[in-house]
Amino acid sequence: MKQALATVVEDICRHYGSDRTRMLDIVIAVQEKLGCVSTEAMEVIAHEVNTHRVEVESVVTFYAFLSVKPQGKVVVRLCNDIVDWMKGYDAVADAMAKELGVTMGETTADGAITLTHTPCIGMSDQAPAALIDGIVVPNLTPDRARQVVRDLRRHLDPHQLVTMVGDGNNAHPLVHSMVRNNIRRRGPVHFDEFEPGSALEKTIEQSPEAVIAEIRASRLRGRGGAGFATGQKWEYARKAPGDQRYILCNADEGEPGTFKDRVLLTECPEQVFEGMTIAGYALGSDLGIIYLRGEYGYLRNFLEKTLEDRRQRGFLGKSILGRKGFDFDIRIQLGAGAYVCGEETALISSCEGLRGDPKNRPPFPAQQGYRNCPTIVNNVETFSAVSRIMLKGAEWFASMGSERTTGTKLLSICGDCRKPGVYEVPFGISARELLEMAEAENPGAMLIGGPCRQMIGPERFSGQICYDDLATGGAILIFNRARNKLEIAERYLDFFIEESCGHCTPCRVGLVLLKKAVHKVVSGAGEPADLDYMRRLSNVIMQTSRCGLGQAAPNPVLGALQNFHTLYADMVGERKSGLLSTFDLSEAVSDSELTVGRLSHYV
């Protein structure tokens, strides 16, 4: 048995050339094959790739989908994102736990099924949803959850849970998923007809410099949310010294409430891969990596097939479209459950087979990124837009959108609305128009850009979606008036606490402290001074944290405090008694009452 484990693990290592930088692929493969990455397996890996066991353990324990200890034969990961919670997560989780006879985080006594939860899996438009060994089970209800458990107990084969398939490529045999696209509004950039290779043909008619000039002229800005000018980023990387350059596509769509990249990867992968290839041409790179979040692993085979087709057709590989010297290929790097890997330097760490810790900056990736070479990291949607820009021209693209933010934006709208889904809209559209399109129900607040951005109240619904006003990477969450905004903020803090890499003090410790303070107020025990304390603590965390995660994590709390101030001022208001709400008089005197035997203690 011991020998067998060693052989299996060695084979996996050798499949990846026993390359230390392919560590993540190796441990994911071991997890898939053996159900966990045991200490024994880690010893073998360390030996095989010439590192130390503790280095392997460091990687394995970083990613939520990997485990050192054995889990059930089937692992049910219920998504506990805020939208799932709004749509009935508690009842579903309860039904599942009861049916299994376990509590959250446990495995059934027979070792068959593990029940656990996971943050946003990119299915907020069909919540509550679960990932069962990578198979997406959307639209859960307590009844359906019980049925899923009964079915699983019978066959222990999550594939058999797929009773009907979704629309579009979700029905493709290599996807075969129950996921639905929910494309509510098709725009001209992403959802128009696209003939594979057509943008590439136009591209190679021009010099690499001219391609970058075209992208600059389009004034395309990064669609991941930060909004850095794409053409400028490319130019920096092109000019940075280095023998090799890399094109990274960030498909680690983890911002709670975002799912537009899921739809792009399902319906427009050609356009995305073509955009990466165009970048490869412009920067003189011969390797691209698409970092696919572990939650979207169900798309992997389909995407591999798409890449293979493109190789066959001469759109990838050596001498692309017959052009000598234009060599470019793309590999898929699968993630394993770590939100922070959406941060570009953490994504690079992860691609290098390390923990997904962000790197210190400077140097920036455009100077020294993947394998210390000039690297660009762009969002899925950015690459898709690049293809369309090369096809239809910068001028056409720049004619859409608002004055300073050109083009269209894909939005994932979800929460308290009747029509959750993906909308391609021109930049400059108002938040109110979005509420109308999605048929929001009594909207009281919106999170534009997900929890890493700001929560706004009705007085700002007239604001515009663009980088100068309401900036977003794609997430639009709608909350009705009955929702407690600070409670929402607390749930998002839980998310950030779980997803912090733990490297720097303010993020690792500060968020835990902030959560305690928020919980105190939400539970009704707040004091007037707590509001100021939360603001001060938030400021320390945001200012001194190393990466975007910590710098943004207190945003939901601050947003709730700023935009709904009177609500919380009331919650922490002084009591009529003049005593602090945390002071319990009867408890304070209970010891002395007990000592003197006063009757009130016993009643």
Binding site: E57, L537, T544
Partner: protein
Amino acid sequence: MSKIKFSIDGKAVTGQAGQTVLMAAKAAGIYIPHLCAYKDLIPHGSCRVCSVRVNGRIQAACVQTISDGMVVESETAEIREFRKAILDMLFVEGNHYCMYCEKSGQCELQALAYRFGITAPQFPYLNPSRPTDLSHPDVYLDHNRCILCGRCVRVSQELDNKNVFQFVGRGHRKRLQVNGEALSATSLAVTDQVIASCPVGALMKKRGSYAVPVGQRLFDHTPIGTEQPKETGE
């Protein structure tokens, strides 16, 4: 090497190209409080005690490289509050009982607390449950006192040419792990430089307690940062 001219708190400083703010400040005799930075190790940028304002933005001085005309603010009321808060976070995150700790007086965390006038932390204690590893014949590892600064990880790799320590887990569950079942199963030797590099009492030699009497310890008479910055083991 080309010279770089910049300023720290209005004082003109000349450094070498490629230096970090922390290195250049140290060379110029300006003390910037720091914890995870150590000797010439690759900067970790994790504790954030050395946070400074660089051209208006908060950066870690141990990571930020200097450039001409750069304006660095270090001793401002705002930065002081940030550093104090970060030190407090480190105190409440672990279990630090200075009065029972034999590192007392030689501990950089404690010394920084004195420097910042911290008598009690402003945050609630998190009281974690953490183990102690006494397996090694000459060295012990008390996780209660570990502040996750990563000095031991880097010193073991970069100076001892071993790989005894590494971090496992993430977020608030991140912790130090050793390359073996326990410390005794690793290649750690009592002569390794890594032991003296620990700024707190997490990694300590056995049978050395009170070798230096209280009153004669490193920071008893020269508080941290009063002269040239002193670090444990330097």
